[in-house]
Every structure is written in structure tokens, then in C-alpha cells.
């Protein structure tokens, strides 16, 4: 599985995501600086990592979403390349229009930094194929602006089309319908606020995130 991780100024979870990609797929991803205009050839998976790109200036992910590399990422997504946006990466994907809705300031104002229970709502995508439907998993969150918002019509469509990938088992940040992660229409782009790359080895306290990367590796290897 050939993968890449985009790095913006202020990204700080890029290396953890790279470690997760390599630990599970056996292959080191390429780290791609946001100012590049082209991605490496033949990518199966692009990671958009967490952090504080551009210091969260203006809006979280707003300026990163307009970086030169994001045009290439959008084109790759349109061609079916898998894209995984985590935390700030999710914010970047909504700002870039690759996923609907927006992430706002947490309803309770506080920066939330703890392990949360998520239910896996949709196991039809490569991202979630190694989970059971309705399974509860534990994954850490660490964010200030994770409150997912979309208008009622969009929310109904997401639910109706089975595009809610993960839901918080209890209120965490005020997200509409407790949505923690969503898929695009074609199911190859996933954005989520929790950090699965921080739940892949025993030392992390939870290995529940590992199966996302295993599902991707499996699914993408099977595509060749």
C-alpha cells in the first residue's frame, strides 16, 4: 500500500500518522510538504494529519485547505484514491469542500483531551471493514474545535446514505447527532475528529484504532 502524509506548517500529528501507516502496511509513507503541487505517483492512500496548521488562524484548517497541494489531493480523491483526514485533517477536508459541513468551537468551550467511546456506524467502507457493525471502540480525542455542524438537510442525507462512519457514544463536543466521523459520497474520503493513530499499540492504552489501518491495507491491496 503506497501512502503519503501531507504536512502543513503547524501540523504535529504527521509523524504519528506515518508511524501508524508504516506499522500496519509495512511501508513508510512519503511526507509531502503543503507547498508541493504534485503528489507521488501511484498513491493508494493520503493522510491529512492533526495539529494546528497555520496556528488555526482565521479558522482551523481554513488556510491549509487552500494550500497548493490540496488541488492534487482533491484530484486524487476524485480518482478514487483514499483520503483519511484526522482532527485538523478533518477540518481541512471540510474547508476544502471534500466533505460537507464544518467543525466549530466545542460546545462546552473547553479543549477536550481524553479517551472517548465511539460506535462504528457503518462498516461498509475500507476504513471500517475490520470493525463489527455497532461496535464500541475507545479512541483518544484532543481538540478545541470538534463540534460538527451541517444543516438538517445535509445531516439527513449523511444518515440516510450511511455516511456517518463513527458516532460519539456520549456527548463530547456538541457535534450534531454526535457525529464523530463522516464519509464522502464515494466512500473513499473519511474525516474524523478522534485520533485512531494514537490507538494502535498497547502502550497507547487502546489498540482499537489499529483495525482502521488494517482495513485500509487489506482493502487497498485487494484493489490491485
Amino acid at each position: 500500500m503506497k501512502s503519503a502524509v501531507i504536512v502543513f506548517p503547524g501540523s504535529n500529528c504527521d509523524r504519528d500518522l506515518a508511524v501508524a501507516f508504516e506499522a500496519v502496511s509495512g511501508r513508510k509513507p512519503e511526507m509531502v510538504w503543503h507547498r508541493e503541487t504534485e503528489l507521488p505517483e501511484g498513491l493508494d492512500l493520503i493522510g491529512v494529519p492533526g495539529g494546528f496548521s497555520y496556528g488555526d488562524y482565521l479558522r482551523s484548517g481554513a488556510m491549509a485547505a487552500r494550500s497548493p497541494i490540496m488541488q492534487a489531493v482533491a484530484q486524487a480523491a476524485a480518482r478514487g484514491t483514499y483520503v483519511l483526514g484526522i482532527c485538523n485533517g478533518f477540518q481541512v477536508l471540510t474547508e476544502a469542500g471534500l466533505l460537507p459541513g464544518a467543525l466549530m468551537r466545542n460546545a462546552g468551550i473547553h479543549f477536550v483531551c481524553r479517551s472517548v467511546a465511539l460506535t462504528v456506524e457503518n462498516r461498509q467502507s475500507a476504513f471500517t471493514s475490520r470493525y463489527e457493525a455497532g461496535e464500541t471502540i475507545n479512541v483518544p480525542v484532543a481538540h478545541h474545535d470538534g463540534n460538527y455542524f451541517a444543516d438538517a438537510q445535509t445531516l439527513d442525507r449523511l444518515e440516510g446514505e450511511g455516511r456517518v462512519a463513527f458516532r460519539y457514544a456520549e456527548a463530547v463536543n456538541g457535534s450534531a447527532r454526535n457525529i464523530a466521523g463522516i464519509l464522502n459520497e464515494s466512500g473513499n474520503v473519511l474525516g474524523m475528529m478522534p485520533h485512531p493513530e494514537r490507538a494502535i499499540e498497547k502502550l497507547h492504552g487502546s489498540t482499537d484504532g489499529r483495525r482502521m489501518f488494517e482495513g485500509l491495507t487489506e482493502g487497498l491491496l485487494a484493489r490491485v
Binding site: 482565521l58 488556510m63 487552500r66 464544518a102 466545542n106 468551550i109
Partner: protein, 77 residues
């Protein structure tokens, strides 16, 4: 030419910062503060030939997230 762009959350969108400010004002003893919503002011200094459409495009493409925000442009000479 200077232009000022006011970016505010759409009504109906939760503004926890506004609420926090409201509570702080009440804590200072101000009564009758019914609601507070906090927005942003972005001041632009642009070439005189910049059109209203250009500034509008800046707002739509970057300065405001139109999913959750409104914007208002004031051009000042």
C-alpha cells in the same frame, strides 16, 4: 483603498464564546445583557483598482466559511 469585512456566525449557530463573554459581563455586574455573539473584523488594504466583486470573492473563498458564517463588507475610501 481600505475595506472592512465583518464575519459573524449565522443566527442559529451555537456561539459558546459569545455565551462565555455574556457570563463574564454579568459577573462584572452588568445587568440586562440578553445575548452576546462574537465575530471577526478583517481589515483589508487593497489596490484602488480592486473591485467590489474581488472583495466579495475574497470573502466567499477564504475570509468567511459560508456554511456557518455571514459576512458584510464596508469599503472606506
Amino acid at each position: 483603498m481600505k475595506a472592512r469585512v465583518f464575519v459573524t456566525l449565522k443566527s442559529g449557530v451555537l456561539d459558546p464564546q459569545g455565551k462565555a463573554i455574556q457570563h463574564a459581563l454579568e459577573g462584572l455586574g452588568f445587568e440586562g445583557v440578553n445575548d452576546v455573539r462574537a465575530g471577526k473584523l478583517i481589515e483589508l488594504d487593497v489596490a484602488d483598482c480592486t473591485s467590489q466583486d474581488d472583495i466579495d470573492a475574497m470573502c466567499r473563498k477564504l475570509l468567511a466559511n459560508t456554511v456557518i458564517e455571514n459576512y458584510r463588507i464596508e469599503a472606506i475610501g
